[in-house]
Symmetry: none
Subunit: 188 residues, 4 copies
DNA sequence: CATGAATGAGCGTTCATTCAT
DNA sequence: GATGAATGAACGCTCATTCAT
């Protein structure tokens, strides 16, 4: 059963899970998810051995999707700062346009269903951004603090920025810039 | 009143709830909480009409406790910056010393059991810090951004700082200072 | 504890029980009954050892009250038929004026909380009516059927008559008469 | 459909419910009903969304069964009186042979779990008998009273007759006839 | 493989009754 | 005696998971 027959069904379940999680939290039942996916109750378990496994895979899928949007078309010809801003901007726009995915990702992220392995894999996908940050960081204001700490701070500033951008999409551009400037002051 | 409702028991239930939430998440059963509190199943409902009510009251209790520790003994004779640092430092130390309370508070904060009223009351308790920040902010680097945004950024930086301080208590002092400096650069 | 201190409280509980039974059926909780009676939860059990005991005593109290209203001021100078009609009429009027008592009595009557003893005592209270009926019956149309059967038929006709009288109190007089005539045709 | 819902199981649950209601009243637990039906606790809810739904469906099933027995093989060639007697007799025999069903039906009938809709449907099933009665009634002794009242009286006489017939099955035939004669005197 | 019925542990909550005050 | 908190069994119902079809 390495690759179950229908990718369509797998994807339908994943999409349904996002909806269900947004509407009912992580306690959304597998029956509801299956129903919203248009498949039978039991079919759920053909594609995901347990509910927990769905959560782990959904988390990775969402995080990967987010990263690939954020890291999309990175122009190599420009300054690092511009490269970082490019990612930052993509990221914020993703949040504004995919609020459900972001909400589901957030809920999954704080749940205790995620395995350590999943969390590790999750961190990897944003590594390219981390590598850009690193170049700024090594001569920046926080050069004496560990990279991990700086990355975590960046993440939290990004999350806050995305929260505000999503809540007021008409000011998204503004929050995007203000948030980025704040980040830059903090670490550059 | 025959046998008055016992504060001891109420507190035992609240404490047990913290433990249970840390160990099992918000789906910790009322039966488990009661058991850990050393009272009978049904006694839970003498003190809290519903599980939801427990969550709301626990949230407020934890948030109030956190705030009162953070805002403790604010010296009025010193600079604003020193005042803010004092709060910041108390806050971080609270996190290091009460990791369970902090974890429970975080889980409760993202749950959808909290009423709007509870959330509002919860925001109030850190208002004194917000008022200090405001004085810095009005001439600071982010003076064009809304206070709400700045407060949210401060919060997220604080949370990240506390995460790292808790994870490596021996470096707590260092993270505390580094985090504060980062905050200051960001907004002062 | 043969006669607990306060008859007031006992009566308050009995009255409250009627209300509670009307509103919530026999599953009305002892706590609710106590509350409506204005006494504490535990006081209930000072006056009635168990909920079942309350039900049995309430049943007798209601049935006795009904009988004493129905059998009130029986004039001995008139024909048997007139005597019976007098009881019949009192009975129907009681039903119209005390619909809650009647409803509670009905629910208690079909419950399986009543002991055989209670049921027996309950039958006794209408015995004077039975004795009147007997005199008609012994030469009547049903003289070959047992008295018990005739009494039961009379009871069921009475109940139906009371149902209709209560539902349309403005036609109560009419139903009272029509019902009685029907009874008379049936057995006289 | 994978494993179709089994009529056997549905019927087993309905039968078990009758038993359980007879033995424990309407407060018979779903767990007990399931157990007596030989299915798992949760299976109950595959067949009936709620306990209330079971009660409503059981009521209809019982009432329909009763009616179809009572109204079985109505000979059209005979007098109305004979037709009515035929129904009456079938009805009484049903009561003697299915005392549990009758007891359950009675308890359900006075419960407040029944929806108005269920009650309405329930009334319909005995309508053919009502129509026969109507033909007698329109020129009978009670022609000035409403049909509803007469039907209700007939019902209550029938119930009483069935009670006595069931309690003394060896005299069932006698009660059947005596009851019918009483009814006839009352309304014809 | 897809389906949906079957399972039974588990949940939040209620309640008759007891008992400390 | 009156009070109301304490108790724990019980209840209706849900749900992740299994398995017959």
């Amino acid at each position: 059963m390495a690759r179950p027959k229908s990718d369509d069904k797998r994807n339908a379940i994943l999409s349904a899970a996002i909806q269900a999680i947004v509407n009912h939290g992580l306690s959304a039942s597998t029956a509801l998810i299956a129903q919203e996916a248009g498949v039978a109750n039991g079919t759920f378990f053909t594609y995901f051995k347990t509910k927990s496994e769905l959560f782990n895979q959904l988390y990775l899928e969402l995080k990967t999707g987010m990263a690939s949007t954020a890291l999309d078309d990175m122009p190599p010809e420009v300054t690092i700062k511009e490269q970082i801003y490019n990612v930052w901007s993509n990221w914020v726009h993703w949040a504004v346009e995919s609020p459900n995915k972001r909400r589901a990702l957030a809920l999954l992220g704080v749940s205790d269903e995620l395995t350590a392995e999943t969390r590790d894999e999750g961190h990897l996908v944003m590594a390219p951004l981390a590598r850009l940050i690193e170049q700024i960081h090594e001569n920046g204001a926080m050069r004496d603090a560990g990279m991990e700490f700086v990355i975590a701070l960046m993440n939290s500033i990004a999350e806050t920025t995305m929260d505000f951008a999503r809540r007021s999409p008409e000011k998204a551009e503004e929050y995007c810039k203000t948030g980025f400037d704040a980040l830059w002051r903090l670490m550059a």
